[in-house]
Structures are given as C-alpha cells and as structure tokens.
C-alpha cells in the first residue's frame, strides 16, 4: 500500500476513535439542553452535578467500592501473580484466565444466581465481592509480568547470604516488584470504578454506582449533565492511567 494512502486512512481511524469522545466533552460545556447545536459556553451542567444528591451518593458508593475492591484484589492478585511466577501450578492459571475470557454478562448473571442462592442481600457488599473477583486476574497478570522482568539471582543472593525465604521476599523481591503492585492496584481501581455489566447484575435495587447512575440517566432522559459526569470520569481515568504508566511502564497495555 502506498504511504500516502496509509497515512490518510490511519488518520481517519484515529479521528473515528477520538471524535465521539471529544463531542461528549464539548457538549458538557454547551449552554443548551440538547446535544445538537452549539449555543454558548457554560459551567451550568457541572454545577448541576454538585446539587444532584443521587449522583453524589452514587459517586461516593463508586469510590468506596473501588477503594475496597482494589485493596483486596491487590493483596489476592499479588499473591496469585507471585504464585504463578514461582510455582508450577495447574488450577491457578486457569482460574486467572477463565474469567477474562468468558463474556462479562455470564460472570454477572452467575454471581447474581450465586448471591441469591446463598441468601446474601444484593447491594454494595455483593458489588464489592464481585469486583474483587474480576480484578484479581488483572492484578495477577501485571504483577506476574513485573516479576518475570526481575533478576532472579538477587533473590538467590539474599538466600545465600543467610536470609530466610520470607526475609528474602520482603527485603528483596517485594521492593523490586512494588511498582508492578502499585500499577496493578491502579488498574483494579479503574476497572472497578468503570464497571457496568457485572455491577448491573449484582447491585440489586437500592445500591447505585456512577456507571449505573449514568445508565439510568441515558435510558430516561439525556441531558448534558451526563456529558459533565462523563467528562469528569474520563479525566479521573486518564489521571490514573498516567500515574500507572509512570510507576510501571508497559502495565497499561494489559487490559
């Protein structure tokens, strides 16, 4: 293919990728209820967000769920990532990869049946448990890849110098893989705060999160308030991605 054709078609695809998001951001500042004509600049929709109690509550829920789920899944995912690296295991690799490979809707639906079967009331708690379940695999993969880039002889050296396996892990391995763990935690946080499908099935009637709130707003009546919250959420995600890629380059590609 000729160079010119490639550049033109490549640029067109980049435009296709970014234009929709730019439109969402642009209309969040538009002084009109309709996402159609440009009328003028306003902060109105952002101010509206601050007065929207159900939106603030949903944001609070999302934050709490994401913090809890990312913490728990980072602990479990780090253990899993380390186990994958150090030992020859049969069950764990399957358990890590399978939830990532099957359609998300099935994970959501099966968790719904499960929680009802064990008589657990659907709500923030069940959302958290579900988020931990799907975040563990992502953290494990990030930590595992960080470990495989590590020089194994450093651990051996610590052992030769008389460190117990635990000391060698805590004083040598852990500091070396810390950036991978932090990147994994940020990844889990982003995945949790953005998740819609699994949350949708495990939330029950009362609990709401930001994506659920956005969903019901889109379904009922579209106003630029949705654009405003979307813009803020994109900024948050972008910020987390930049931090994650600074801490551990390469980890952002994992998704």
């Amino acid at each position: 293919m000729s160079r010119k054709l490639l550049v033109v078609s490549g640029a067109a695809v980049y435009l296709f990728l970014y234009l929709p998001l730019l439109i969402v951001v642009a209309y969040s500042f538009n002084d009109s209820k309709l996402n159609a004509e440009w009328v003028g600049f306003t902060w109105h929709w952002y101010k509206l967000l601050l007065d929207d109690d159900s939106m603030l509550k949903a944001a609070g829920n999302s934050l709490m769920i994401a913090l809890t789920a990312s913490f728990a899944s980072t602990v479990l995912g780090t253990m899993a990532g380390y186990a994958l690296y150090r030992y020859r295991l049969k069950l764990l690799p399957v358990l890590i990869m399978a939830p990532l490979a099957i359609p998300e809707i099935l994970v959501g639906v099966s968790l719904l049946i499960f929680f009802v079967a064990i008589n657990l009331t659907l709500g923030l708690g069940t959302i958290m448990l579900s988020h931990i379940a799907f975040c563990v695999g992502f953290v494990a993969i990030v930590v595992r890849s960080r470990l495989s880039g590590m020089d194994e002889s450093l651990f051996e050296a610590a052992r030769d110098l008389g460190a117990t396996p635990w000391q060698a892990f805590r004083l040598v391995t852990l500091p070396l893989i810390a950036p991978g763990i932090v990147a994994g935690a940020l990844l889990a946080f982003t995945l949790s705060i953005d998740d819609f499908v699994i949350t949708f099935f495990t939330a029950g009637v009362g609990a709401s999160t930001l994506p659920l709130q956005i969903y019901s707003m889109i379904k009922i009546a579209v106003t630029p308030e949705v654009n405003a919250i979307s813009t803020l959420l994109m900024l948050l995600t972008l910020f987390l991605i930049v931090v994650a890629s600074r801490v551990s380059p390469g980890s952002v590609r994992g998704r």
Binding site: L6, I23, I105, V109, V197, Y215, I218, L233
Partner: protein, 296 residues
C-alpha cells in the same frame, strides 16, 4: 515440606476466592439451567415433595424451549451476523492503522499505540453515549446526512435505535482489540522481504498481497478472536442504541433475569451462548492452524 507449605499459603487465598466467587457461581448457573423457575421469579426448589415421597425437581424444559421456538435461534443467528459484520469492519479499519504504526519510526510507535488504547480506557457507557449523541435525530451528522439524501428526494432516515447504530458502536468499542494483535504481528516483519520482492519486480499491491498479508495471517486470526467473542455477549450497546429491532442475545439474557424473571431459561441461554462461542473459537483455531501451517 517447607516449600509446599509456602506454595499453599501463597496460592491458597486467591485460589479459594476465585473458586468461591467464580467456579461455584458458574456451576450453580449450569445447574440452574436444569431447574424450574420459581413461582415469583428465581428458582424452584431442587427437591419436590409429594404423597409418593421426595423427587429431584430437574428438567430439560429450558433447553427444549430454546430449540422448539425458532425465534431464539433467529436471535442467536442475528447476534452472530452482527459479530461477523463488526469483525469484518474492524479488520478493514484496523489493518491500515496497524501497518502505519508498524512502518512509523521506532520512537513514535509506542505513542501511536498508546493513542489507540487510550479511548478504550474511558467508561464503556460513555463510549455508547457518544454514539447516541452523534446518531441522534438532531445531531449535526443526522442533519447533514438527511439534507444530502433530501437532494435526491430520499426521505429522512432514522439512525438511532436501529441495528445500524448497534453495529457502528460495536465496531467502535472493539476496534482496539483488532489493532493491537495486528500491530504486534506486522511490527516483526523483516523489511528485507519486501525489498527482495521489489528486486524481483513486484509492484506495491503485489508486495502487499503476496508478502505482507500472508505473513500477517496469525495476527489477523488473533484479532478476529479478540473482536468476535466479546461481541456475542454484549448487551449494553443494543440496549441503549438498538431500539426493538436491534436487540441481541445478551438483551434476552438480561430480560430473562431482570424482567421476565425466568432464571432457568436465562441460564440455558447463557450456556448455549458460551458453548457456541467455544465451538466457534475451537473451529477457528483449527482452521487457523491449518492455514498458517500451509502459508508460512
């Protein structure tokens, strides 16, 4: 012994968590597909007691329902068709982009790849919402298109809440999954092969179709798998953009669980979906292995 203890201590908790919150729920769902629906939604008890004692209360009814009414297979075929169209357009759009990145100067490549990944880190619903704005009846795009069609005396068309809206958005959300494996493949090609083809008199198109394209087949197969499978289970895109005509199998599953409350049938649908997806992947992997084996 010490090594084994460490192994259990470190791998035990994540294994336990995933068994409880992934394996057991999946098994419960499989079992649920053989149960009767409960009177008020949910599931009927597994054991049934009557005058003659206790019976196991399981049935194939949900599967019979699926196969007895063609409307379900039709919806499934429609979902497959959406996935095929989506995959095709993703391939057509992703290929030039992946090739462009692979042929760019090495220092720009990471940035160009990052630019492909970045939009799909934004919330899934936001990306769907963006298309709701673009395809809405009052949008600039709709106005321009209908104005243009009007010049030829064609009636205005509706874009939102149609299968067209669903497929466009599916292409949008899945595109990066095609670009990345293609790029990973194309980047490794040895430029000397193209030089050799040129020396032997091949023109640009010949060099592409006879050298680059066949060598990129493994990347194409990987991309197809990554794009195709997730599309089968998506429900948010048709739910928001599809209206009544654009629904997919995922919408039916959602409906059975949250509105119709026929959980056994919803579970059976999920299982039919998963098993079909696995069979398709298996067949594709087999075909891919044969082709790659022959071409390379």
């Amino acid at each position: 012994m010490g090594k084994n203890l460490g192994k259990w201590l470190i791998s035990g908790p994540p294994v336990l968590y995933l068994v409880v919150f992934f394996v057991i729920p999946t098994l419960i769902m499989v079992l649920a597909s053989f149960r009767y629906p409960g009177e008020y939604g949910g599931l009927a008890p597994i054991m049934r007691h009557d005058a003659s004692g206790a019976h196991i209360n399981l049935t194939l009814e949900s599967y019979q329902e699926y196969f007895s009414d063609f409307i379900y297979s039709w919806l499934f075929l429609k979902t497959l068709a959406y996935a095929v169209i989506t995959t095709f357009f993703c391939l057509v759009m992703a290929y030039p982009l992946a090739l462009l990145i692979a042929k760019s100067a090495r220092k720009y490549r990471d940035l160009l790849v990052l630019l492909v990944i970045l939009p799909f880190w934004s919330n899934f619903l936001i990306r769907i919402y963006a298309w709701m704005i673009i395809l809405g009846p009052q949008s600039v795009f709709s106005q321009l298109l209908n104005g243009f069609l009007g010049l030829f005396g064609i009636d205005p068309v509706r874009l939102l809440f149609t299968p067209f809206a669903v497929v466009v958005c599916l292409i949008y959300v899945q595109l990066p999954f095609m670009v990345l494996p293609l790029y990973a493949n194309l980047e490794k090609h040895d430029p000397a092969l193209l030089d050799a083809a040129q020396d032997l008199g091949a023109n640009g198109w010949q060099r592409f179709w006879r050298v680059t394209f066949p060598l990129s087949l493994p990347g194409i197969y990987a991309g197809i798998a990554l794009v195709f499978i997730p599309v089968l289970g998506i429900f948010a895109v048709p739910d928001i953009l599809g209206g009544t005509r654009g629904i997919m199998i995922g919408n039916l599953i959602k409906q059975e669980f949250l509105e119709a409350r026929d959980w056994p049938f919803g579970s059976a649908l999920s299982i039919v979906l998963t098993v079909s997806a696995m069979i398709i992947v298996g067949l594709a992997a087999l075909a891919a292995r044969r082709r790659v084996g022959r071409d390379v």
